[in-house]
Symmetry: C2
Subunit: 418 residues, 2 copies
């Protein structure tokens, strides 16, 4: 049995590793078009910031590791030109063809590349940017795109002391439709002297450094040409077993669609954690298991100039769009006991007015943001009502949390609204 | 309608406040035998450590606040001598009698007081200890009792540079029956030069300061004398509406029993968070609502010489004792991305071999312990299986967590065992 995986980052390597663990005899090959595999793209902004000293630290595994430790043939510089589902083979740009019995497509996301600016998607981008930074000493930068990558870049540039303008064509920061979050982030960025320009623009203002963090899309060209169906989000449509419409062809990671478990709708939320989970399930099923990945609740977290920002589930606007009747409550409270450096944290919870089910949350703060948003993620996963959420037995001791956790305070207020 | 509440700390004040919020016309009186109300007993070890500068900082509310802001009559120094359920009245030690239509018993816990040592249960204890510390400059201390209060005291004393011996008659630290946790804590305490002596002893070794953190029990004398039933734990038996066996008599907080939702068994786990929740429900029902408090999953957290220790649910030993067939898995992993000061954290998960349900967890570490144990608490609350737990959409970004969260790594290993 031959397993072929296209893509050597999160989803692809997870799929290959899981398949190997399940089936020691399978022949497994991973094709990566770039020069390195397994790089932590999520670490690139931190490398820019100076937290990561050498870009090489971002590379977790080498092809040699996979060959030696997992008996997986990982080939870099191996760009696939075409997939032929009927012949069960792929053709590389070099002309070489490879046969497969099972195929996992893990081609990731692509980013729109424009003239006159940088993008920061992979190690080559990082190297290119590094060379530029060594040549010039830019003092003013423009970041285009107010999603989480844009915000991470802004944070990195400010940490280096540069003047930064953040630009986005839309009207929101981080989460489309979320006015409260946008305002909170605007205020925070203003305090950190980041100029924010939202709304349509014709030209990106000239600056010594422009980084585009926009135009991300699933990389589906190969799949589409092979007859793989896409879903409404533009990413590859898969079942909860990561099967595409073609027999023995799986897709996983940033090129594939998943389900938002809160709204029930197809979702494209490209994140390394999700990619790993999808990859594991694709690999397991390609190796003959029957595993499922049900979907996500849309959890994400980003640090914006020191402030932690966590979101999960649906914002009030998203819930309305999904045809629900949402109600929300927002509290500001201390994140720990006052005498343990407690600082203000903001928790907003959204619930459905019709059945009291929790729908989403936003948490802003300097401590414990990841923990609180993760509790909400667990609650959303099991479709908890606000009433049930109020009963969660959260840990308390003064060094860790206040006696009435901000999550509970918000849930109480929300309970009063329902 | 007259509501009488016996006890002016967490549960009692929560009950009174909630009742007032629901019913503006109720006559509400809180009787507290001590000189202050609403003190954060949980803060006393930190006050000793020097984190809290003035003991007064631990008092959140005054009787005046309750009178002025909530129209609740809070009387300090008002010790109840007897409850007469048939007459619906209580008699104070002073001889005064007070009538009630609804009664909430929130008499808390008591601690065994011994000759020749200190206890640290309330503000008077704290003041007494402070006076002693001002007179002498003890350099060597013995803490008796290896529960969370004992461990907090050890931490406080070590932070002040004293030599500390920790003594316990049992064979375990923090959680009876948990050998792995005991060993991990023993090693950690040894690194911090705390001498630990477990097992039977005849005499407490002489030291300049001895603090007893042992012999805690529900304070049920008054209730018992009035004919209120106790449960198997020795605390007051209540329904999930906080009703006792006597009509119109509720109990809440450290004097009352609750249910461990994981084992389904009655439990006595005296904690401020639980006391507040029980108090709110008792107050709501006393004011005519129909609310429930289903129980706890046994979450707690303590900082031991810098190390965060979180537990939730059942240990493997407890699960066996409850007649289950537990299986456990333990991982050591980084708590954040390596380049974000990631440090080692230990996660142990316990599940039921028969149905794959998650039963409990222990988390040790220096960062994110409260968040991870809280995710487990939420999962236990909704009776998640390990398979479902693996799907929780946990937040990821390098400043907050590693891409494969230690919780997921442990759950994967556990999944392999089931």
């Amino acid at each position: 049995m031959r397993l072929l995986v296209i893509g050597g980052v999160a989803a692809g390597l997870s799929a290959a590793s899981r398949a190997r663990r399940i089936d020691a005899s399978m022949e497994i090959t991973v094709l990566e078009k770039g020069p390195v595999i397994s790089y932590g793209a999520c670490g690139l902004p931190y490398w820019m910031e100076g937290q990561v000293r050498r870009a090489e630290e971002l590379v977790t595994y080498t092809p040699e590791f996979f060959r030696r430790e997992r008996n997986i043939d990982v080939r870099t510089g191996a760009e696939v030109a075409a997939i032929s589902p009927h012949k069960r083979q792929v053709t590389l740009v070099s002309g070489e063809t490879l046969r497969w019995d099972k195929l996992v497509i893990a081609t990731g996301a692509r980013v729109e590349r424009r003239e006159g600016g940088f993008v920061l998607q992979n190690m080559e981008d990082a190297e290119r940017l590094r060379a530029y930074l060594e040549r010039t000493q830019p003092a003013r930068a423009v970041v285009v795109g107010a999603g989480y990558i844009g915000l991470e870049l802004v944070t990195a540039l400010r940490a280096r002391g540069w003047r930064v303008t953040l630009l986005d064509r839309g009207s929101y920061l981080l989460k489309p439709g979320d006015s409260a979050l946008t305002q909170a982030l605007r205020d925070h960025l203003a305090r950190h002297r980041v100029e924010v320009q939202l709304g349509p623009y014709e030209f990106v203002p000239t600056a010594e450094l422009t980084i585009h963090a926009t135009g991300f899309a699933p990389n589906v060209t190969l799949a589409q040409q092979a007859g793989v169906d896409l879903g409404p989000t533009g990413a590859i449509r898969v079942t909860d077993r990561m099967e595409t419409n073609l027999a023995s062809v799986y897709a996983a990671g940033d090129c594939a669609e998943t389900v938002n478990l809160v709204s029930g709708a197809p979702a494209w939320i490209p994140l390394g954690t999700t990619a790993n989970k999808m990859g594991r399930v694709a690999g397991a099923n390609a190796a003959g298991r029957r595993e499922r990945f049900a979907g996500v609740v849309g959890t994400s977290i980003v640090r914006v100039c020191g402030l932690g920002v966590g979101v999960a589930g649906l914002s009030e606007a998203e819930a309305k769009q999904a045809g629900m009747r949402p109600v929300s409550a927002r509290v500001e409270a201390l994140d720990r006991a006052k005498y343990f450096h407690g600082r203000k944290t903001v928790v907003e919870l959204v619930a459905s007015r019709s059945d009291g089910r929790l729908l989403g949350a936003t948490v802003l703060g300097y401590h414990g943001v990841e923990g609180r948003i993760n509790v909400v993620a667990a609650a959303l996963q099991s479709r908890m009502t606000v009433e049930k959420f109020l009963e969660i037995d959260l840990a308390y001791a003064p060094p860790f949390a206040p006696v009435a956790d901000p999550l509970l305070l918000a849930a109480r207020r929300l309970g009063d609204e329902i």
